[in-house]
Symmetry: C2
Subunit: 271 residues, 2 copies
């Protein structure tokens, strides 16, 4: 199945544009719960409310080979419990062509992820091993959510900013397999609106930065959704996963995910 079809199917089925970031920092886990057990409990509690899970590799690599095994077991568990829900691997990779084959193998063959986040700096030619896979999503960093993202992303080039050049290239030249998405931070709604203008209605955004990082759901939805009331996935990590530090963490995560889904849907055009 094509990535874009899988994305459309799950957002419709669960009536949800919510992505839960599985940034399972072991220092923040509730007492007596290990990283894998924590992830499983979050997935059990939320999988009917979300369209995607987004494990960030940094929180697993930090623990070396053992952490990578937990990441794999987490992905296997998501597929077993909720085969429709997407796994977006937040790995922020990108190397030269022949080397990316190793990351393709890691993300798609080993972990079975549906998509991976990628840096654009090396250009389309380098990312071809990802772009060629119409069954998998290539989620390109465009305007990131961090405070200092403008340092290079906002550099002006012939009246256009670098992030606008990236958005334009991805929409017009990289997306021949209809499998590209763009990372657009909720912390920059003006920039998100500019990107939506550039790319039109067909390209989907992955939007981190609501909640702990300060982005607003309302501002994001007004700026970034497309004419069909979708075209974006809003990702929340800490606010959902660590909604409670007690034994009721999974219940609390469910409540937060449900509230986020409702809040997002309030602002969807035509829904």
């Amino acid at each position: 199945m094509k990535f874009i079809e899988k994305l459309g199917a799950v957002t419709e089925k669960n009536n949800s544009l919510v992505c839960v970031g599985l940034d399972s920092d072991v220092a923040k886990l509730p007492d007596g719960v290990d990283q894998l057990g924590f992830n499983k409990a979050i997935v059990d509690a939320t999988h009917d409310l979300v369209c995607a899970y987004k494990p960030n590799t940094a929180f697993y690599e930090a623990r070396g080979a053992e952490g990578i095994q937990v990441l794999k077991d987490t992905c296997d568990y998501i597929r077993a419990v909720a085969p429709d829900v997407l796994i977006l691997l937040d790995a922020k990779r990108a190397d030269i062509g022949n080397t990316n084959a190793g990351y393709v193998q890691f993300a798609y063959d080993y972990l079975g992820a549906d998509a991976i986040t990628l840096h654009p700096y090396l250009g389309r030619e380098a990312l071809e091993p990802f772009l060629a896979r119409g069954d998998k999503g290539a989620v390109i960093l465009c305007r990131t959510s961090n405070p200092g993202s403008g340092e290079f992303q906002d550099v002006l080039t012939d009246g256009k900013k670098v992030f606008e050049t990236v958005a334009n290239s991805v929409a017009r030249e990289w997306n021949t397999n209809k499998n590209c998405m763009l990372v657009v931070g909720a912390t920059y709604p003006e920039e998100a609106a500019a990107i939506r203008q550039i790319v039109g209605d067909d390209l989907w955004f992955l939007v981190p930065g609501v909640g702990a990082q300060g982005g607003s759901v309302e501002a994001t939805m007004r700026a970034a959704q497309n004419a069909h009331g979708d075209g974006l996935i809003i990702s929340s990590s800490r606010d959902i996963m660590f909604a409670s530090s007690g034994a009721d963490f999974a219940e609390a995560a469910r409540a937060k995910a449900k509230a986020l889904r409702s809040e997002i849907n309030t602002y969807r055009k035509g829904k």
Copy 2:
């Protein structure tokens, strides 16, 4: 010890600006040799001839948790056999601030690497967890060696190209701990010369792209070395590691590494 001091010490001790890329693609290993055994044999055969090893994480992640264990065992082995030789982790990472802590832990605490390669796209603020470590190198992608690297890196901004803006920012603003390096592809000697002009003599380059990718040692040395006859490390992977596919692979790798060291040293100013 500061990263820049360790770098100076090993290049002097081994009279070498050679870095061997440990891109140990399992599909290319000689018969009967596994990934770890291969790496150990290459290290045994070359460690007195080089200043650094550069394992690329993609070739290990491709094999999942097992591959990460081989990467760790390889790093441990290098430290045991050749404690002076640098381990440059070619991981091409970069995430937002709090998340990079996981990659710092992976590269420095778990693997014990001396440096890591990083994408510049998220800006200095995001990379602070790497830049703050004066004992470890932050090797920033500037002008990469791949054929399509110009797509965004050459975009003109106020008469300067994006890669020149990156070079200038890293040299003038990011390098307060004297631990930054720049990745500059051997396939683009003109651009390398432009970067040397911008950054002066103090900033070191990591130069991939000689050999299989088509870059020339002579052109690289003329373009990229500093006034002291150093300021760069030239990395070769396939040409050295896979110099022979037979049982004599380690011997053949030694011969190639020795020849590359000599060739580079021929062009060093004042040596």
